[in-house]
Every structure is written in structure tokens, then in C-alpha cells.
């Protein structure tokens, strides 16, 4: 029963990772770009959220309503001021640019918020739990997972059925042909990045409520998002979601075996998938 519980807790943890991963899958699928500062944005938005919550006494729902538009704005600005300049067949410039941004952001946060770990108090929400037979689950992790499902499903529908989604898929398939057909690819890209970073606004609040955050933590979050995307299958939003679940389960099971092995088992599962099924578990290829 201990292991069933570990799997349940892993899936719930995966709900948080999914919120990091779907934005990354979206950006890579559309632009072949990986934003190395992806994890640092989670931490930045989380720290801003904690400061606002302390200053204005805003609740978690209010924070999400504030941080999601802020994240979207950051993403939109990032695309227009940096990423649009380095998009191309060569992946190196975009990686280097966002890598530099990541170092600058981390140290900027250290300067403002110091290296202390902080967290967001969720009030009664963080201690409430529901039970299903012998399995107990926190209400907050369940909400996180539900939000992840809604976000993934919503994003998938947007990509399939809206004009923006069509433009996005067209730009991903052939940048030049999409431009010729009247798609404003730069604006489509900016919207994609705005969505990716906007989701992080919600993820940041949940992350700060579930655990603690500190300025140097961004790298780890980037790696989890990346592992989830690769495990699930590149370019697929539901693939990233599934990958997040698998990664979460691997980490929680690892922690139960030995606290030193939690994160490591996640890495090992990632490497096994890379060796056995490099196209990812959900990919049709």
C-alpha cells in the first residue's frame, strides 16, 4: 500500500511539473527554441507573489489572477526584445542568449530577495486533505493536478480549433509558407511565449505554496520540465503532461527508497526513456 500511495503522490507532484512542461513543449514545438531561463521565471514570479502577498495580504487566487498576466507580459516582452532576434536554424544563439538571461536573473533575485528560502502560506488549504480508503491526498496537490489537466486540455483545444492555433501550427510546420499565407509569425511566436510564461504565473503560486523557493532553484525546475517533455514525446502537449506524471512518480518512489535517490531516480528514468524510446512515450513515431 505504501507504493500505491507513492504513485498517487507522484502523480500529484506531476501536476506541478506539467504546468512547467507544457509551456516548454509549446515553445519548442513552435520555434525550436528552449528558454534556459524558464525555471528562473517560475522562481521570479513566485518571489514577486510572496512579496505582494506579504505587502497587500492578497490570497492565492488573487495572486494567480495577478501573476498570470504579469508572466504573459514578461513572455511577450522576452519574445519581442530577445528571442525574435535569435530565431533561426542555428539553435546556439537563442540558447546562449537565454542562458545569459538566466544567470542575470538568478543573481538579480539574489540581490533583491537574498538567498533565503521562502514559501507562501496557503492557510487551511495547505493542511486540508481528502481520503479515499487508505490513501490520503492533500487538497492543494489535487487542485494543482486539476488545474494542470484543465490547462493541458485547454491548450490542446486552442491549438486544434482556433485561428491562433492554426497559425501556430502553420508557423511550426513551415515558417516561410505561414508568412506567405498571411500569418504574422512574429506575433504568433510572441503569443506562444506569452502563454508559456503566463502559465508559469500559476505554477509559481502553487510551487511556493507546496514547497519553498529560493533564487538558485530555477535550474532544477528547468531540468524537470525538460525531462517531462522528453519522456512524454517532443512537441506534444499531452505528451508533456504524461511525462510529468511519470517523472513525478519516479521522484516520489525514489524518495521513498532513499531520500538521496529521489531526484536521481527521475534522471535515471529520463535516461532509460532516452535509451529505449528516444521519440518519447506518447509520440506516434
Amino acid at each position: 500500500m505504501q507504493w500505491v500511495d507513492a504513485v498517487v503522490q507522484g502523480v500529484l507532484l506531476g501536476g506541478l511539473y506539467a504546468q512547467y512542461a507544457i509551456g516548454m513543449a509549446l515553445m519548442f514545438g513552435v520555434m525550436r527554441i528552449v528558454n534556459i531561463a524558464h525555471g528562473d521565471f517560475i522562481i521570479l514570479l513566485g518571489l514577486i507573489g510572496i512579496s505582494i502577498a506579504t505587502a497587500w495580504g492578497l490570497g492565492s487566487a488573487g495572486l494567480i489572477l495577478l501573476l498570470v498576466p504579469l508572466g504573459a507580459l514578461i513572455g511577450w516582452l522576452l519574445q519581442h526584445s530577445v528571442l525574435n532576434k535569435v530565431i533561426g536554424t542555428d539553435p546556439i544563439p537563442s540558447l546562449i542568449a537565454t542562458f545569459g538571461l538566466s544567470i542575470a536573473l538568478q543573481n538579480f533575485m539574489l540581490q533583491i530577495w537574498s538567498a533565503d528560502t521562502r514559501s507562501l502560506s496557503g492557510g487551511t488549504l495547505s493542511v486540508a486533505s481528502v481520503s479515499l480508503g487508505p490513501i490520503h491526498a492533500g487538497v492543494l496537490p489535487v487542485i494543482v493536478l486539476a488545474c494542470a489537466v484543465l490547462l493541458t486540455g485547454g491548450l490542446d483545444l486552442v491549438l486544434r480549433y482556433t485561428a491562433f492555433g492554426r497559425g501556430l501550427r502553420a508557423s511550426a510546420a513551415d515558417h516561410n509558407a505561414a508568412t506567405l499565407s498571411g500569418v504574422n509569425t512574429k506575433e504568433v511566436y510572441a503569443l506562444a511565449t506569452a502563454i508559456a510564461v503566463g502559465i508559469l504565473g500559476m505554477a509559481a503560486v502553487f510551487q511556493a505554496m507546496r514547497t519553498t523557493i529560493a533564487p538558485p532553484d530555477g535550474g532544477a525546475q528547468l531540468i524537470y520540465a525538460f525531462e517531462a517533455v522528453i519522456i512524454g514525446g517532443m512537441g506534444s502537449i499531452w505528451g508533456a503532461f504524461t511525462g510529468s506524471m511519470i517523472l513525478g512518480v519516479a521522484q516520489v518512489v525514489g524518495f521513498r527508497i532513499d531520500p538521496g535517490w529521489g531526484i536521481l531516480l527521475g534522471h535515471i528514468v529520463f535516461l532509460i526513456v532516452l535509451a529505449a524510446r528516444p521519440q518519447g512515450l506518447m509520440s506516434r513515431g
Binding site: 525550436r32 532576434k85 539553435p91 542562458f99 545569459g100
Partner: protein
């Protein structure tokens, strides 16, 4: 009858005045470093060792990212592996520490083969983050191995058997060998037959492939060579430090250093990595005290270079005057 095609008489020129001067200077520096224990203070020797390691690590990253197009943010895997191999060989197995530094190259070399076979499945930017995951996995694995004292790390106690002077002689010789192998080796490689293929690959991998360059095999070889060179630098660096922990040996900050040094100096040029290493080394000596603010500037500068000056300082310098130090091109000069 057609007139025979007459070829103008030309010679292939591979050195310039500036390069002859630079080569002489480089040879002098490599020969001078091992004499330092006889005239320089301990502080300067430490500078020389650290700078040699920095140049070596940057040059290996430059070969990898600049020529082979393999962007790695996980070279710390090999720095840590080289360092740990030294500490185990010399500290646990009783191998002479100076010989152990050379033997330590074996571990990063052996690790690089499966790493590359796994990571090559990842596309462009994902390859980069994959290298980071591998380095993180190695760090966590090392922290869990009690034979190497887990997260507590190891000290190189055997060095106490040697006097300060003997240690200085050993480590300066090793630093000179390191420079010779990494910088000299890169220069030799780029001027060899493979150099043409590598330069073609740097400029356009697809076109290079169509001209008969085996891009996949060349990338594999470069990845392994860079791992070995980086590992050697790690072994030399941690021999000077006398202490290694998983947190320091596998620190992702090593990747930041590689990227900063090569991007600021000039990617895809031997001179670029050297200039970048000098800039970083002295900037850190003078501005390192500003801590986070200094690193914010480094990060923004890296981003700025990627956006507006992808050729780095070296390409700005060559715009003023073309004076290669380590030319790899072949110049055709018409005979008069």
C-alpha cells in the same frame, strides 16, 4: 588545338608574421610556466595554474560548440569526473599523484562514449539541456557513493608527502602539458586534414556532409576529445585545490564560465577562447568582490554578445586589423 590551361604559379601560405610571433610567444609561455617555482611567488603560480585550467576548459568547449556545433551546458560532468578520478587513484589506490593526473583522463574519456550515444538522440537545444541532466545525475550519484565519502567530498592528503616546492614543480609542469595538449592539440587538429572538415562543419554542417565530411563521426570524436581535455583540466585544477566535493566538481557554474569566456572572446576561433579566458580571469580578480552584481553584468553581457556581437571580441579585433595568432586557413599567394 586548344591552348593548354596555364595555372598561375602560386604557393600555399599557412603562417603570417603575426602568427609566427604568436607561436614563438606561446612556446615561450609553455616553457616558462614549469620554471615558475624557481622565481615566482606561490600566488603567481596559483594564478598560472588557474588560468591554464580556464583556457583549457574554454578551448575544449569552443571546439565542441564552435566547431562541432554541439552546445553543452554540462562540461562540469567531465571536470568533476577528472577530479574525482585523481582523488581516487592517488588518495585511495596509492598511485603517484602526478602520474594519476594523466591517468585520470581515462574516466571522462570512458564516460563520454555512452553519454554521447544517448545524447545525440536529442535535437539541437535539447542536446544542451541533456548534457546538463547527465552532469546533475553524476553529481547526485557521486553524493550517494560512500566510497568517495558522499556529499562530504575528499581531500588529497597524499600531497603532504611532497614539499611545497616539489608540488609547485609538479603542478606547473602539468599545467604546461595541459595547455600544450588542449590549445596546441586544437591548433594541430584544425590545421590537419580533419581541420578542413571541422571548419566546413562549423560554417555549415549540411553543406559539409554533402562534400563528404562524416559529420556524425567527427562530432562523436570531438565530444570524446573535449571530454578528455576537460577532464584533464579538472584533475589539474582539483590537484591545486587539494579538495573536491560533488557540489564544487559538478557545479553548473563551470558551464556558465565556458559559455561566458567563449562567447565574449569569440566562438569558433582559437584566439577567442584565450582572449575570453584572460578577460574573465582578470575581471573576476578585479570585480569578483561585487558578487551578484558582477554576475548580473556577466549574464547580461553574454546575452548582449549573443544578440549583437556573435563573433565576440576577436571578430571585433579582426575588423580593425587581421592579425591571426593561430591561423588555420590556407592562403594562396601568387608567385611574382
Amino acid at each position: 588545338m586548344e591552348a593548354p590551361v596555364t595555372h598561375p604559379s602560386v604557393t600555399v601560405q599557412r603562417q603570417t608574421t603575426s602568427s609566427k610571433a604568436a607561436l614563438t610567444l606561446a612556446a615561450l609561455i609553455v616553457l616558462t610556466i614549469p620554471t615558475m617555482p624557481f622565481w615566482a611567488s606561490g600566488g603567481y603560480i596559483r594564478w598560472a595554474v588557474e588560468l591554464s585550467c580556464l583556457i583549457a576548459i574554454a578551448q575544449m568547449w569552443n571546439l565542441l560548440a564552435g566547431y562541432a556545433g554541439l552546445l553543452s551546458v554540462g562540461q562540469q560532468a567531465f571536470i568533476g569526473a577528472g577530479g574525482y578520478a585523481l582523488f581516487v587513484l592517488a588518495g585511495k589506490l596509492g598511485v603517484n599523484p602526478f602520474a594519476a593526473v594523466i591517468l585520470s583522463v581515462g574516466l571522462p574519456f570512458v564516460l563520454a562514449i555512452p553519454f554521447y550515444l544517448l545524447l545525440k538522440r536529442l535535437d539541437g537545444p535539447y542536446f544542451a539541456i541533456g548534457t546538463w541532466v547527465v552532469a546533475e545525475a553524476l553529481r547526485l550519484l557521486t553524493s550517494n557513493i560512500s566510497y568517495v565519502n558522499g556529499g562530504g567530498g575528499l581531500s588529497l592528503r597524499v600531497m603532504a608527502e611532497y614539499s611545497q616546492h616539489q608540488r609547485a614543480i609538479g603542478i606547473t609542469i602539468l599545467s604546461a602539458v595541459l595547455l600544450l595538449l588542449t590549445v596546441g592539440g586544437t591548433y594541430w587538429l584544425l590545421r590537419s586534414r580533419h581541420g578542413l572538415a571541422l571548419t566546413a562543419m562549423r560554417d555549415d554542417p549540411v553543406a559539409a556532409e554533402s562534400q563528404g565530411v562524416n559529420v556524425a563521426r567527427l562530432r562523436f570524436l570531438i565530444y570524446i576529445a573535449a571530454a578528455a581535455g576537460t577532464g584533464l583540466a579538472g584533475a589539474v585544477y582539483y590537484m591545486a585545490q587539494l579538495r573536491i566535493t560533488p557540489e564544487s566538481g559538478f557545479d553548473p557554474y563551470w558551464a556558465s564560465i565556458c559559455i561566458f569566456v567563449v562567447m565574449v572572446g569569440g566562438i569558433g576561433r582559437i584566439e577567442g577562447a584565450i582572449i575570453g579566458a584572460l578577460v574573465y580571469f582578470f575581471a573576476t580578480r578585479f570585480f569578483g568582490q561585487y558578487g551578484a552584481t558582477y554576475l548580473i553584468v556577466l549574464g547580461l553581457l553574454t546575452m548582449f554578445m549573443a544578440l549583437y556581437a556573435p563573433g565576440g571580441i576577436w571578430s571585433l579585433l579582426t575588423k580593425i586589423r587581421d592579425w591571426p595568432w593561430f591561423p588555420t586557413a590556407r592562403l594562396l599567394v601568387r608567385n611574382r
